[in-house]
Structure formats: structure tokens, C-alpha cells
């Protein structure tokens, strides 16, 4: 594979942030998006874990892309992703135990997060190391930013706080429903509608 130019790399990077934002445009990885965005800190932790797993698995898949047999490749991807997710989970349990507790079973669910396996299939297994890494970072950042926006809205409305710091004035009555599943679904639906409206106007 020929070395990709700087322009192409930056295009790959920004694609993950906006045009092909995994949550907002590709509609992948919805489960953690809804589950961990009740507050900003868990959302950030989840985002960084996904970036870590995405980058590592893209590197490994890209390195072994020429050795893969076609009918075993999904199994190989899954094995790689599962290993890195276990590493991330162990790390969180050891060094960030409160976050690990809050996120609970949603960290191991990164294994079946469609984003990672789709990027491994669509990008890393067909491109060189540098392109794969840039793609992974772009997608991961797009995912993290989306999560933080959603979490910011939800935490602000549900508790009047942002990342644990009180922002809203004392007179603000917290909208507890935002912390519940219903708030998650409706907020994400409205954000998606907003994105649809913006991109339609651009098109």
C-alpha cells in the first residue's frame, strides 16, 4: 500500500469527527452512548477506553492484514478486540476503581461495539499502519466528543452539575428524568434530528 499523503490523512481524520461520525452518521455503537452518558466523567472514561481499544486493534489488524484467511478473519478481529478490552478493563479496575464500578458491564461490551469491528473490517484490514491509526483516532475522538456532548446535556439537566461541578443556579429544579433511560433516548433522538437538519441544509 503506497504511503498516504498528508491531505488524505487529515481527510480520514476529520471524517471520523463529523462526516462519518460513528454515532451520529453511521449509527454505530448506540448501546454505550445511551448507557454511560448520565454523567460526563463516565462518558469520558468510556470514550478514552474506546480510543485505546480502537487504536490498538487497528494497529494489530493492520499489521497482520496480509496473513489473514478470509473465513477466519472475523474471529481474529473478535479475538484481538476482546484481548484489548480485557486489558482496558483490568487497567480501569486497578487504577480507576470508581469509574470501573460506574461503567460496570459496559466496558466489556466494547467488544461488541460495532464501531471497532466495522473499522477493523472496513479500514484496518485493507490499509497501512498510518492510515489505520489516523482512522482509529478520528473515529474514537468523534465518538468521545459525541458522548461528552450527550452526557453534558444530560448531566446538566438532571443534576445541575457538569463533571461534578455545580453550574446551574440554585433556583434550578433538576430534571431527574434526564438521568433515566427515557432522557437518554429522547436526548439522543433530538441530537440526531438536529444533525440531520444541519447536514441537510449543507447538502
Amino acid at each position: 500500500m503506497a504511503n498516504a499523503s498528508g491531505v488524505e490523512l487529515s481527510k480520514t481524520f476529520t471524517a471520523g469527527l463529523w462526516q462519518e461520525n460513528p454515532v451520529l452518521r453511521l449509527l454505530l455503537g448506540m448501546c454505550p452512548t445511551l448507557a454511560v452518558t448520565a454523567a460526563v466523567k463516565p462518558a469520558l472514561t468510556m470514550g478514552f477506553s474506546v480510543i485505546f481499544v480502537l487504536v490498538c486493534s487497528n494497529i494489530v489488524v493492520s499489521l497482520m492484514r496480509n496473513l489473514l484467511k478470509s473465513h477466519l478473519r472475523i474471529l481474529m478481529f473478535t479475538l484481538t478486540i476482546a484481548t484489548f478490552v480485557t486489558i482496558a478493563d483490568l487497567f480501569l479496575k486497578a487504577y480507576l476503581p470508581e469509574m470501573s464500578e460506574t461503567l460496570g458491564p459496559y466496558i466489556p461490551l466494547i467488544i461488541v461495539n460495532c464501531i471497532i469491528i466495522c473499522r477493523a473490517e472496513a479500514c484496518a484490514s485493507q490499509n497501512g499502519l498510518v492510515v489505520s491509526i489516523v482512522d482509529a483516532v478520528g473515529m474514537g475522538l468523534g465518538f468521545t466528543i459525541t458522548l461528552c456532548v450527550l452526557a453534558g446535556v444530560r448531566e446538566l439537566l438532571a443534576t445541575g452539575m457538569f463533571a461534578g461541578h455545580a453550574i446551574m443556579p440554585r433556583a434550578f429544579v433538576p430534571w431527574a428524568a434526564m438521568g433515566l433511560p427515557v432522557g437518554a433516548f429522547i436526548t439522543l433522538g433530538l441530537i440526531l434530528a438536529l444533525v440531520n437538519q444541519i447536514t441537510k441544509k449543507q447538502a
Binding site: 484467511k69 481474529m76 486489558i87 479496575k93 486497578a94
Partner: protein, 203 residues
């Protein structure tokens, strides 16, 4: 037969090598981080128990795996820790109690005084109750009324004075089920643990 094995190896050698490699990585990381993960658990318990047994400087294991018949007839094993002050004198006992709450399970750290006559309070290890309602069980407004109550026969009532320290517990408004669950868990565990500790001659 040989040809089959050869074909099998030819197709899946990458999978086998990767499995062994990943397994080795995971085993190494697990061995490296496992002590830290376990220490985190102990630290969390000590922190919560220490918040209630304020004069305790360390917690020693007094009885391990005491069986308590929990909900649904299942036997839950709980460890009893003895809180010791700087002079090595016992200031109280702490153990983990759990049971079903409104939404999910509730796990509490329960602290009682040295003679097991009065409750010194409880801390919440894990709960997933409704934010704004059952979640209020974590707040001091609800928890403070347990400090100094007799360690048997707690009763729940919907109205009353929280500042009166007796075995009458005032429920959280709009969260009767969660309040009931907490009182249930405490009653069940305190009764069983006290009986067994008396049998063992610890009190």
C-alpha cells in the same frame, strides 16, 4: 488424516499463534494488576467502614464467610471485620450486607458498635436506585437516622421525626420500596450475624 491436520494447521496457524500470544499477555497483566485490584476492594470497604467507626485505625478479619440466608433463600457469605483503635482495642464490627432493592441489588457496609447493641450506621457500596427518589438513601438525611439505633427490629414508617433515635425509621418520601429494602437488609443481616457471632464467642 495427516493431510487433514496439515490443512487445518495451514488455515488456522495465525489464530492459534494469536490465541497463545494474547493469552500470555493477559495472564501477565492479570498477575501484575490483580493485587492492586484486590487492594482497591479492601480500601473501599475500609474507607466506608472507617467513616462510621471513626476511631478505628485498622480493620482485622474476625470471621470469614459467615453464611446468612438472604433473599430467595440463597446463602450469602459475608466477612466480619473488627475495627481496632490505636491501642488495639475493638471499637466495633463492620460487614457487608446485601439484598434486593427497587431496581437492582443493594450492597451496604454495616457498622455496629463493639457489643453489637447499637448500629453505627451504614454506607452504600452499590445501588442502582431511581435518581431523586431511592437514590436518596445515599444521602446523610436518610442515613443519619440509623446512627445509634438498636441493632435489632428496625421498623419503617412513612412519617415521623428523623431526629429521634429509636428503632423507628422514617422512609424517603416517594421511595417506600427502597427504604423498606434497606431496613429489611439491615434487620436480616444484623440478626443472623449477631447470632452467629454469639455462637462463635466473639461478642
Amino acid at each position: 488424516m495427516r493431510k487433514k491436520v496439515q490443512y487445518f494447521l495451514q488455515e488456522s496457524w495465525l489464530l492459534l499463534v494469536a490465541t497463545i500470544l494474547f493469552g500470555a499477555v493477559l495472564a501477565t497483566l492479570d498477575a501484575a494488576w490483580r493485587p492492586r485490584i484486590e487492594q482497591n476492594e479492601i480500601d473501599k470497604f475500609n474507607r466506608l467502614a472507617g467513616a462510621m467507626l471513626t476511631d478505628a485505625v485498622r480493620f482485622d478479619m474476625a470471621a470469614e464467610g459467615l453464611p446468612v440466608t438472604g433473599d430467595k433463600g440463597r446463602i450469602i457469605a459475608t466477612d466480619i471485620k473488627k475495627g481496632l483503635d490505636a491501642g488495639g482495642n475493638p471499637v466495633g464490627w463492620a460487614f457487608i450486607a446485601e439484598g434486593p432493592g427497587f431496581a437492582d441489588r443493594i450492597r451496604l457496609v454495616v457498622a455496629v458498635d463493639a457489643s453489637f447493641e447499637r448500629l453505627r450506621g451504614f454506607g452504600v457500596l452499590f445501588s442502582n436506585e431511581t435518581p431523586g427518589f431511592g437514590d436518596k438513601m445515599k444521602e446523610s438525611e436518610f442515613r443519619d437516622q440509623f446512627v445509634g439505633v438498636p441493632a435489632t427490629g428496625l421498623e419503617l414508617s412513612k412519617t415521623g421525626d428523623r431526629s429521634v433515635i429509636d428503632n423507628n425509621i422514617v422512609a424517603i418520601t416517594g421511595a417506600t420500596v427502597t427504604s423498606e429494602a434497606v431496613v429489611d437488609v439491615l434487620n436480616r443481616f444484623m440478626a443472623r450475624v449477631r447470632d452467629q457471632m454469639k455462637e462463635k464467642g466473639l461478642i
